[in-house]
């Protein structure tokens, strides 16, 4: 059975589930681990520019737009679930993202 790696999120998944049912991968939202490094950089930049003490870092990080992205859809997210046009009945996937690679 074919397995794929999502080029958007790096997740690996089978083409089919048990019993021959197709599996439809959809990328998870951004995690804290993914969003936090960018937020820390943004906070450091703000602190440097403003000359504020490091004790303000947490408040700065929490107000940084990068940190607010935790839990939001990742850029170029892939969603293999299908949509069907009501009249033409044509079927396509929700979002191609960066594609996938067979592993």
């Amino acid at each position: 059975m074919a397995r794929y790696r999502c080029n958007s999120c790096g997740g690996e998944y089978p083409e089919q589930s048990t019993g021959g049912v197709p599996y439809f991968h959809a990328c998870p939202p951004l995690s804290e681990a993914e969003a936090l490094p960018a937020a820390v950089q943004a906070a450091a930049r703000v602190l440097r520019d403003a000359g504020k003490p490091e004790s303000d870092a947490r408040a700065v990080i929490e107000s940084a737009p990068e940190f607010a992205q935790v839990g939001t859809p990742r850029p170029d997210m892939r969603d293999e679930n299908v949509v069907q046009d009501r009249f033409t009945r044509k079927v396509s996937i929700v979002a191609e993202g960066k594609g996938r690679t067979e592993v």
Binding site: S17, V21, Q84, R89
Partner: protein
């Protein structure tokens, strides 16, 4: 003394002609009518066979066989077949090929015209879940919604996320799930931090359930989490943790089952989650 004669059969008031008998069917169809077969399916290798017995105007009884192969993505597959003129007497639907449990394939058969693009439903004849062991028929069959009765129990292996990425499983298009259990392994990196695993349910955007683990996970640990409606948490034993889920809860297409991990580090790594769900096709 002789017994009095008593007749046990009485003459009927209604008579029936021996010839020129009307067909026992209310469905007269013309060559302008079409038999439309609509199938929603999630299993590979399935062929849907519809058999129709039609009494032609010349009195000949003709068996017809219509075969369709639906896709496996649960979207609606519509097929239209022209009919000969006559009386539609019976319809039978059965599957060939594949092993199809209940909840995996839903069939509607109706009379219509002007197909495609939008079939006009002139009479719904069959509407029900079909399985390898359960055929459908008209007349006599029940018209059911695809969500009636028990669904199909599925054990699903989800996406194995990259390190530093949360788990997220989405209910597929045209499916309805009832989540019974979730099992996943979580390996933490050597980076010092106190992680806490949450299981979250959302409608694709907005969270409506967030259940945290009762214990935390520190650096360089491998723990496994079971989530389900287990009544009470018994704590961590042998690296096994429990998280409560609400009473088996219906999840619509597009709803998500996710983890959200407090203090998740870039080197932390979830394994592929294993889900036990009950599934229906929802067209």
């Amino acid at each position: 003394m002789a017994e009095e004669f008593l007749s046990l059969t009485r003459r009927r008031d209604v008579g029936f002609p021996g010839r020129e008998v009307l067909p026992a069917s209310p469905l007269y169809v013309t060559r302008d009518d079409q038999l439309i077969i609509a199938v929603w399916n999630s299993v590979a290798g399935v062929t849907v066979q519809v058999r129709a017995r039609i009494l032609r105007p010349d009195g000949e009884l003709i068996p017809n066989l219509f075969e369709v192969v639906p896709t496996t993505d649960r979207v609606g597959n519509d097929f239209a077949f022209n009919l000969p003129e006559g009386f539609l007497l019976t319809l039978g639907v059965q599957l060939s090929g594949g092993t199809v449990p209940r909840g995996s394939c839903f069939v509607e058969v109706y009379l219509g015209r002007a197909f495609p693009p939008s079939g006009q439903d002139w009479g719904l004849l069959i509407s029900d879940n079909i399985s390898s062991n359960q055929d459908l028929g008209w007349p006599g069959g029940l018209l059911r919604n695809s969500l009636e009765g028990p669904g199909r129990l599925r054990s699903i292996t989800g996406t194995d996320p990259a390190a530093g990425v949360e788990i997220s499983e989405t209910v597929p298009t045209n499916a309805r799930w009832r989540l019974h259990a979730l099992y996943v392994q979580f390996v933490t990196s050597a980076t010092a931090a106190t992680r806490r695993v949450h299981i979250m349910l959302d409608d694709g955007a907005t969270t409506f359930w967030d259940s945290p683990s009762s214990a935390t996970q520190t650096a360089s640990q491998t723990l496994r989490y079971s989530a389900g409606n287990i009544g009470a948490i018994i704590g961590s034993n042998d690296s096994e943790m429990q998280i409560l889920l609400p009473t088996p809860i219906p999840l619509f297409a597009g709803y998500r089952i996710q983890t959200e991990t407090a203090s998740l580090q870039a080197g932390d790594n979830y394994g592929a989650p294993q889900l036990l769900v009950e599934e229906w096709i929802e067209d």
